[in-house]
Symmetry: C2
Subunit: 412 residues, 2 copies
């Protein structure tokens, strides 16, 4: 258990760590950087010089005089580089372009993956990305990388199980395909982890606060930030809350287990429940076909948001299961903050917030010590894409903080 | 998100950090300590001098010559100081004395808390501890502190909810009472967190491995190590797995929720199930009285271990619920290692191991990527006490790594 993080005096990691100290400090002097990093003033001077030469850092004036000499202050140059985030979703693709400071400066939404073959989707992503960058007048050379957020597990090198509507994605290496097409490093992670990272990176919470981001698309995922970093686990597959057993010996799940959250409370279960009401089925034009899952689910969520009592009952039932699962997570991890993000919460997210708040304020084991704050992330549809851009930025700014799956694949 | 840990040049924390670097390195030179810590060689020389003067570190010979000069090597002096760990349990108190290296050199078991008033228990603990130290010929001045492991939540300053058989412990400040009686710093944490810390400290896993320790006494607790540290959460109450909802809208739990793991699979539920069989009730002399919970539970567990089919069925039913909860935790946190510890697993722990292994090998979402190793910690009854001693040691060696509840209360 080594307790002091060692920084080699001249590595790329050290440079990135110093750049990240500048970013997180706002404005900072060289002396302060030396104190914070444990590096010698000579090393700091050399590293800062190279960061200024690369336009990543700028001098921004002078701080208070201490001992006769005024300290020149440094700041991140947010416009020096950009990162792109793409969220792959069944119903829509969302693109964001962020500057080095994490601010979103460009945004585009297009048709989802649907039944299209992965290679065709990748070709379209590359075209749409190039068009977005051209529109923003950003040369590709100024883009540090592309982050991709998608559903599902990472079941080994290159093979991505995206849990989308087609099985083609199971064995498709989206990183390699997009990386070689774009000529840029591509990193990927699941949408829940991306959404959590995005909130952490954007500084929406104080450092040290643990929190969870529940992401709902066709299923559920949980992004966890503990101890100031996105939790990764043994194989970078943290967050499979969709297969939390909430009903022991309950309905058989496709995963082999029984009574999983996804099986009793996910979009498929909700559509099946609504389909059982012939009038509702007709009214909302539900197909019950897996290829139209998102269409069916959206129709139910929108009707619930409009106040249709039958649909509100379907959503509320799902939300009560989700709230029980989140109560378990809150109790297990002693969380004080929970975020909801993703297309599943776009229309009827308020119902989920209400049920999670109700159960956690009444039943959380630590309710006498602290609140559990439940927040619907706005805009929920962008959260994963913004987080994916953060993922690409993190590769430039803090490669030493990376772990697990989030490894860049450099283009061939 | 500051990424480099700052060490002030002369604080107590720095001294402890250097001491911990010596401990974790085995043998190490001053130059290596400077490189690892980022401190100047001058600072290291000064700190090492004070550690040698206090007998905490010894010089142990010379390493290879580099550039003409041979480096003298440093090592922890394990016999310089000792720490005590006490596990408070309904059925027995367990004491261990550990040296600075974490090795257990003394051990004592006595009667449990039962229905005795907290102040009387604390007086007895002090007497028994003094007797144990006298037997080992360890002067109190060489003891760095006492760690106390108990069940339950920390519901605020001084008030410890121990979840034992009497409510008296709810508002009893065990730390203060024992600290002022012993004249030693006392730290406390829940038994699950202690058991996890003990395994981590003893180096039973490689650094960076996340793992969970499920602790079973009258209820369940989960100690979590993620990212190389015991997870603390918002109020140092991580691990309330006993109130994970495993049966949505199931049996009403005393916590206000329904279908909690403890309610359907804890010792009370198991005793109630066995009591429903009149022959078994008579045979095992079950009382069903809450004051005899541990006696009743132990009788069932021992009979199950002996092969009594009725009792094996009761334990197996509990173990299947526990396995479903652990499967949820494994899926949520992508764990590759799970430990079982505590008196609840002393007699029939094998049945729990078998069910958890069966479910996780068949159903864990990451089963194609890695195993989930399930280990019964031996000796299960000592795990919390050993961990509590580690907690006290950690306060001396790595106060910078402390968090949350584990704060020392110094004697008045």
């Amino acid at each position: 258990m080594t307790t002091v993080r060692r920084l080699g005096p001249s590595s790329q990691n050290t440079r990135s760590a110093v750049l990240d100290l500048v970013r997180s400090s706002g404005t900072v002097s060289r002396i302060e950087l030396a104190e914070m990093s444990g590096l010698t003033p000579t090393s700091i001077t050399r590293i800062v010089k190279s960061l200024i030469e690369d336009r990543l850092v700028v001098e921004t004036g002078y701080g208070d005089a201490t001992g006769g000499k005024r300290r020149s202050l440094l700041e991140l140059n947010p416009d020096a580089r950009y990162a792109v985030g793409v969220s792959l979703d069944d119903a829509r693709l969302t693109y964001v372009v962020a500057d080095l400071g994490g601010r979103v400066i460009g945004h585009h939404v297009s048709t989802g993956i649907g039944q299209t073959a992965p290679s065709a989707v990748v070709a379209r992503i590359a075209d749409e990305l190039e068009a977005l960058l051209a529109e923003l007048a950003i040369p590709t050379a100024d883009v540090v990388g592309v982050g991709v957020a998608g559903a599902g597990l990472d079941l080994g090198a290159g093979a991505e199980r995206m849990s989308l509507t087609t099985d083609d994605w199971d064995s498709f290496a989206v990183q390699e395909a997009l990386g070689s097409r774009m000529g840029l490093p591509v990193v990927r992670d699941n949408d829940a982890a991306c959404a959590a990272l995005g909130q952490f990176w954007a500084g929406r919470m104080s450092a040290g606060d643990d929190f969870a981001t529940l992401y709902m698309s066709n299923g559920f995922g949980l992004g966890l930030v503990t101890g100031g970093a996105v939790a990764r686990g043994a194989s970078s597959n943290v967050g499979e809350i969709g297969h939390m057993v909430v009903e022991f010996e309950g309905r058989q799940c496709w995963c082999g287990s029984r009574g999983c959250l996804e099986m009793v409370a996910g979009p498929r279960a909700m559509v099946a429940e609504a389909m059982a009401d012939p009038a509702l089925r007709l009214e909302l034009e539900l197909s019950g076909d897996d290829g139209h899952l998102r269409h069916d689910f959206d129709a139910i969520a929108r009707a619930a948001a409009r106040g249709d009592e039958r649909c509100a009952a379907v959503v509320t039932r799902s939300a009560r299961y989700v709230a029980a699962a989140m109560l378990s997570v809150v109790n297990l991890l002693d969380l004080g903050r929970v975020y909801l993000a993703g297309p599943g919460f776009a229309d009827a997210g308020d119902i989920y917030v209400r049920e999670i708040e109700e159960q956690s304020s009444r039943l959380a084991r630590t309710r006498s010590l602290h609140e559990v704050e439940v927040t619907l992330v706005d805009p929920g549809l962008d959260a994963a894409a913004v987080g994916a851009a953060s993922l690409a930025l993190q590769h430039v700014l803090t490669p030493h903080a990376r772990a697990g799956r989030a490894e860049a694949v450099l283009p061939a």
